[in-house]
């Protein structure tokens, strides 16, 4: 290993390594980006008492990175009728950022559906209207998907590359400094030796 260790050369190699590791292989926005809730309902236009399957997928807006660990509830309300809303807590679906459950609306008319997301103590919600039609009428079987921007951000720490590059560089500079210190000590020792004596072993 000593043969490989040459001052300067190692520093350049370490810097290249640090840049490769610390530099961003993923899109810059992936470090911290807004989260989007993709809400799918099926059927799109249900009848009263019909089970409506609700799927909420939480992902980063640009990279599609999953938002993990959220708790999602949905509620349907008819504010004009002053009636109790219908509610459901969604369970985890096929993937860890997919939340599924079902709602059942009690009467025909225009309902306001609210998706409530709780993530690491913070809460945000998005609402949309849904038409509940009589079972005898022509209805859209769906599915219908809507996207909503939430206030959460998905991603990692703010400056991971800087932390990583900084850490590696600090350690390399320490080793370099210690190496120079050792070499200069050895050189001083050699200079102090009487002429004709054998050089000190490395």
């Amino acid at each position: 290993m000593m043969a490989l260790w040459r001052p300067g050369r190692v520093a350049v190699a370490a810097l290249a390594l640090a840049l490769a590791a610390g530099g961003d292989a993923r899109p810059a926005a992936a470090h911290s980006e807004p989260v989007v809730a993709r809400v799918t309902v099926q059927p799109a236009e249900p009848a009263p008492r019909e089970e409506v399957r609700v799927t909420v997928l939480l992902t980063g807006e640009r990279s599609g990175m999953p938002l993990l660990g959220a708790e999602v509830t949905v509620a349907g309300d008819m504010p004009a009728h002053k009636m109790a809303p219908v509610k459901a807590a969604l369970l985890r679906g096929a993937t860890r950022n997919e939340h599924v459950g079902s709602l059942s609306f009690t009467m025909t008319g225009s309902w306001e559906v609210t998706v409530n997301v709780l993530h690491q103590g913070e809460r945000d919600e998005a609402s949309f209207d849904m038409e509940v039609k009589p079972s005898t009428s022509q209805r859209d079987p769906g599915p219908a998907t809507r996207s909503f921007a939430l206030k959460f951000t998905a991603g990692s720490s703010s400056y991971p590359g800087v932390v990583l590059i900084g850490s590696i560089l600090v350690m390399v500079v320490t080793v370099e400094a210690a190496w120079f210190n050792k070499k200069s000590r050895e050189a001083r020792r050699r200079r102090g030796r009487p002429a004709g004596s054998s050089p000190a072993r490395p």
Binding site: S156, S157, V163, A178, K182
Partner: protein, 505 residues
């Protein structure tokens, strides 16, 4: 929230603690005090197929390389992965797997973690510029560790700081802070290796090493001289202490001729390589042997034990719902934010537990008529008796964590960064409980009772050493008996409360 043990089991456990205590006291009353005898060991170095790997520096390098690779993965996932701790490999691997299994590892294999330690591995490789070959001169300035710091108070302070970070600041729920913490410890070990002689950081300051050092007094594995007379009379060179061409000198300044406890041995295996007399044994022994020896005790070690005892309990307290009432009460009373209230609560509980311990020591001295060994000496000596209680409560507490949280490793292995990968097809496996809660409850109560009984035994041995006469020995133990019953009952009560998990799964 995880369900605590049922009320009936709490009362059964408390009853067992009481019964065991009074049975042991009755037994000690009948017995004549006797000096501890030697104990049976089995030397692994006598097993031909184990001898070579135990001595191999190259094998150690490859084992450490694997652990360093995992450490790098923890740093990368912590820095780049999802901020959700329950799906980030860094938090799961660090706090749910490593930190929890570490205590179990120490109980059985002593300081085995130090053999694997990635912080020490990286520091050693960089300082020596060698992976396994022995080099007499490294790059270190080889300064002596400051005289005032030649104790383990620095490790005690770091332990308090880590606990504050973990519970107050919520490091276990913050992958990026977990990575920063890993890097911070690496820097401490790294710079210490380049400035100070040998592995001074491991010897004096490493909180993991010092905690495991105290718990390792209980462990069933030890490295010792086979025959100490060979070291003292037959060995002139003391290669275990000074090193030779086959291995480095002991990194923590231990001399096998006088080493009698696991505390400062870091299982590096250098003495196995350097000893010219083949006089080093890796012994399997029965648990807890170092605790009943009449060896030297130190004030800084006692401080570490009492802090470990108090922090282990505090750890449990912070996970029960009543803790939030305490913090909210402090916030309302003092008009401060969460973190100052948490800090006041933390140091308040620690101070209360330490004062309670000292109060019981004072009581222990008060009930003995004869000339006492002194308050300070007895406080130091008896602290070691509480190690089994701390260790077994720690194991009981960790068993729930591990059972409830460890399965999160399965999806995290497939998706270590939480980016939506599915490397091994397990990314969407739903994490479940490993051990049924019913079985876990019995295990927890069993562990606490065993720790209590062991502590009573160690306290008895200490009393026999410190007091003269059967009556004084017996009376001095009674306050300790009360303290241990109180402590074990408190441990049982904490396990009976619903508990909030650490990585928010």
């Amino acid at each position: 929230m995880t369900e605590g043990i049922p009320t009936w089991l709490f009362y059964t456990g408390s009853g067992l603690v009481m019964t065991a205590s009074f049975l042991l006291v009755a037994l000690y009353l009948r017995m004549q005090p006797a000096a501890p005898k030697g104990y049976a060991t089995f030397d692994l170095m006598r097993v031909p197929w184990l001898r070579r790997p135990l001595r191999s520096a190259m094998l150690k390098f490859f084992v450490r390389l694997t652990v360093v690779a995992l450490f790098v993965l923890i740093i990368l996932t912590g820095l780049y992965g999802t901020r959700y701790a329950g799906a980030n490999l860094s938090t799961i691997l660090s706090w749910t797997i490593w930190w929890i299994l570490l205590v179990l590892l120490i109980a059985f294999l002593g300081k085995a973690w130090c053999y694997l330690c990635p912080w020490d591995a990286i520091s050693c490789w960089a300082e020596r510029l060698s992976f396994w070959k022995v080099k007499r001169e490294g790059l270190s300035l080889n300064l002596r560790w400051p005289r005032r710091l030649r104790n383990i108070y620095l490790a005690v302070i770091l332990f308090l700081f880590l606990t504050w970070l973990e519970l107050g600041w919520g490091v276990t729920r913050r992958p990026e802070v977990t990575a920063y913490l890993g890097l911070l410890i690496l820097f401490l070990a790294f710079f210490a290796a380049f400035v100070f002689e040998r592995r001074a950081f491991c010897r004096y300051a490493c909180l993991v090493g010092r905690i495991s050092g105290m718990y390792a007094l209980f462990s069933s594995l030890e490295i010792r001289a086979r025959d100490r007379e060979v070291c003292r009379k037959g060995c002139q060179t003391r290669d275990c202490l000074h090193g030779n061409e086959r291995g480095y000198p002991c990194p923590t300044f231990q001399y096998l001729g006088s080493m009698e406890k696991n505390t400062y041995c870091i299982f590096c295996g250098e003495c196995l390589r350097t000893c010219p007399h083949d006089n080093v044994a890796v012994n399997v022994r029965f648990f807890g042997q170092d605790l009943v020896k009449t060896g030297r005790t130190r004030f800084d070690e006692a401080a570490m034990v009492i802090v470990m005892l108090a922090l282990t309990t505090f750890h449990g307290i912070t996970m029960i719902p009543q803790w939030y009432d305490v913090v909210d009460g402090l916030r309302a009373l003092l008009h401060v934010a969460y973190l100052p209230a948490f800090t006041i609560g933390m140091f308040g509980i620690l101070a209360a537990l330490v004062l309670l311990y000292l109060g019981f020591i004072r009581l222990s001295l008060a009930v003995v008529a004869q000339r006492s060994p002194g308050f300070r000496r007895l406080a130091v000596k008896y602290s070691y008796a509480f190690l089994p209680i701390a260790l077994f409560y720690h194991l009981a507490h960790n068993s729930t964590h591990f059972s409830v949280e460890a399965a999160a490793l399965v999806p995290a292995l497939s998706d270590p960064f939480g980016w939506g990968w599915n490397l091994f097809g397990t990314a969407n496996v739903k994490a479940g409980i490993l051990v049924p809660m019913g079985a876990l409850w019995y295990l927890q109560v069993g562990l606490i009772v065993v720790g209590h009984v062991w502590a009573l035994y160690v306290a008895h041995r200490i009393a026999v050493q410190e007091f003269e006469g059967h009556g004084s020995t017996f009376r001095s133990q009674l306050p300790m008996l009360l303290a241990m019953i109180a402590y074990s009952t408190l441990s049982l009560w904490i396990t009976a409360q619903p508990m909030e998990m650490r990585t928010a799964m």
